[in-house]
Symmetry: C3
Subunit: 267 residues, 3 copies
């Protein structure tokens, strides 16, 4: 695939305005992650302005973490604006296996053709099974109870049925458009110990997508994120220090570092 460093370079040169409709836990760290990476984040959700703002943004990320009916409506309105303008949007189906409300909202969001869906294995399995009418995933909250391998078939099926790139996060990520598939082995076990780092990754994916093909851009975003986690772990071995070191690594990593450190392989 195209060199991963190229995508980081392009993202920083564009410094895209990324519109995020995300959960309360993630808002601050997500904005800091996007700023450290080199993008321009904005959080806007109110119905009187969400469509107008989506019209200004270059990409959208939607996250159902602390979902609410009004916010779900705002997500749909913003996604419709993006799709109509052929701008990319990314879905993070947090805890979709946990409640019927999340499943209903995700069913509506999937119909709006996200460019990329990223979640943990339990979430991708639950999402793929929405049409089938039976949940197969065991995750209850934001943490996955299934290994990545168990979600690969679900990811391919979901990608094929939605026309989206689907990424399964885990120790080794799996990314597919339903035909091609890649693995990204960058990352560190401390990353899931900091809340909302997964959520924030979806904003980075959205930033990488601007003007780029979805599959290699997503692969590059995951490699960049995971490599920053590896760098952070060299500086800090516990979650408080790790979070600061992670933001520092996102900020200081160069495209050359990424090209040299990316652990990307065709699946």
């Amino acid at each position: 695939m195209t060199d991963t460093g190229h995508f980081l370079n392009q993202m920083r040169a564009t410094a895209p305005l990324v519109h995020n409709i995300t959960n309360y836990v993630a808002m601050n760290i997500m904005a800091n992650v996007l700023l450290a990476a080199g993008a321009s984040p904005a959080m806007v959700h109110a119905l009187p302005e969400v469509e107008e703002f989506a019209g200004l943004a270059q990409a959208l990320s939607v996250n159902i973490g602390t979902l609410d009916p009004d916010w779900a409506t705002a997500m749909e309105h913003a996604a419709q604006v993006m799709v109509a303008a052929q701008k990319p949007w990314v879905l993070d189906p947090v805890g979709v296996g946990a409640t019927r409300f999340r499943q209903q909202v995700c069913t509506r969001l999937l119909a709006l053709r996200p460019a990329v869906i990223r979640g943990n294995a339990s979430e991708i399995i639950a999402l793929a099974s929405l049409g089938a009418g039976s949940g197969g995933a065991t995750g209850k909250g934001a943490d996955s109870a299934d290994p990545v391998e168990a979600a690969e078939a679900a990811a391919r099926q979901l990608a094929a049925s939605c026309g989206a790139v689907v990424a399964v996060s885990g120790p080794v990520d799996y990314i597919t458009d339903g035909v091609d598939a890649w693995r990204v082995a960058n990352g560190h076990p401390l990353m899931p110990r900091i809340t909302a780092l997964g959520c924030a990754l979806n904003g980075v994916i959205a930033a990488f997508l601007v003007g780029q093909p979805a599959l290699p851009a997503t692969v590059a975003a995951l490699a960049y994120y995971g490599l920053a986690g590896e760098r952070a772990a060299q500086a800090a071995q516990a979650p408080g220090g790790f979070q600061a070191a992670f933001l520092d690594a996102l900020y200081t990593l160069t495209p050359q570092d990424l090209s040299a450190g990316a652990k990307v392989a065709r699946a």
Copy 2:
């Protein structure tokens, strides 16, 4: 009482799913505190799903910091689920002395029999005086204007009338079930200088309560939290660095450390 380290060990072995309905200020640090301690946090508040999610969780923490009428209803619904299933829930009556709205909401929540109520001295005094129809506390915001000693009688009265364990946070914490009482002398003066560390403590108490008797589990949670603050202060002397060092200490403290460092005594 049972060895404090035992409770930390049990909590980490269980890694309980803790459902939090908390304020916007606390959400991120509360999730990070619970992850660092070894629990699995989730923040869910919407009326269409809050009861279903409470059914999945092993414990619930409720915090009225940035209260809203819809959120107050969600707190009641979730607490009812917990009580019906004999699962523990914890109340943090933030700023209850400040407004009539907070007093009305807390009156309704107290009727739902929390397992533990934890607040600062002003909050516990205000809460105990709700039934009496007269406020005796002087605190206006999240900061206490009363010393712990001034709240001990109120704590015993509140514990007896509600059937809850009541914990008063301060330089030396006071914890009572209305009959027995304990003091925990762990902690550090920088802790109240970091926002929402008190709020996040209630999530930790909820995690410690799973499968354990409420009084010693609460005492152990407070000792663990305060000891982490003491450790953090060895690494950092100002609030920015302290916050990171505190999360690190929650993560690295062992049950053995806790048993050795807990400053717990019968009152």
Copy 3:
């Protein structure tokens, strides 16, 4: 003007209760900034209690970052309480140029006579042009697309028409009451790379205003904040470490440090 250190000394001696109605991204860091500086923050927005709480606070900061119709109403109610009691309130018109909804809300808020308005250049230009019926600013999100110099005339006009002190943040800040004007050259380029530091500054301004004349108190608050940024940059060169070091600097800076380090000059 009066010595800047004097204002820091007075603020810490008062430790004012600052009521904040602010955006979800800013809430945690804003509370931590106010605590580190020496004030007492509270976040309260619900309509059943926002006026009662405003009655307890010594100053109010209003920020339209993640605006919502109900929150806009709460902002108006709280501002009315402050004005009626001759207590100061501060407006942060985040992204006012981006949507009509923000412009409508700001038009209503400006009529309630804020003591201080602080924003970036694009926001101040957009705000000044609200009455004129034509937008002149180019900023889309929270980041400014205009230099401070381009906003000076708009700042003077806005100050004169509203009776407010207007502060334009940037590499060199510009502060005016419509007659006098000052520049503050403290600060560091990493500051806009941490989300919501600008938002949190408005809380600090509100704290500095209590019992003090608005123009020199605002100048002192900006100098204090910028000097803390300079100190932080001596300890950390990337945004994760910088955020912690910035809170530490707010906490450790003395009035004497501020008097010695303030780069304040009449414009």
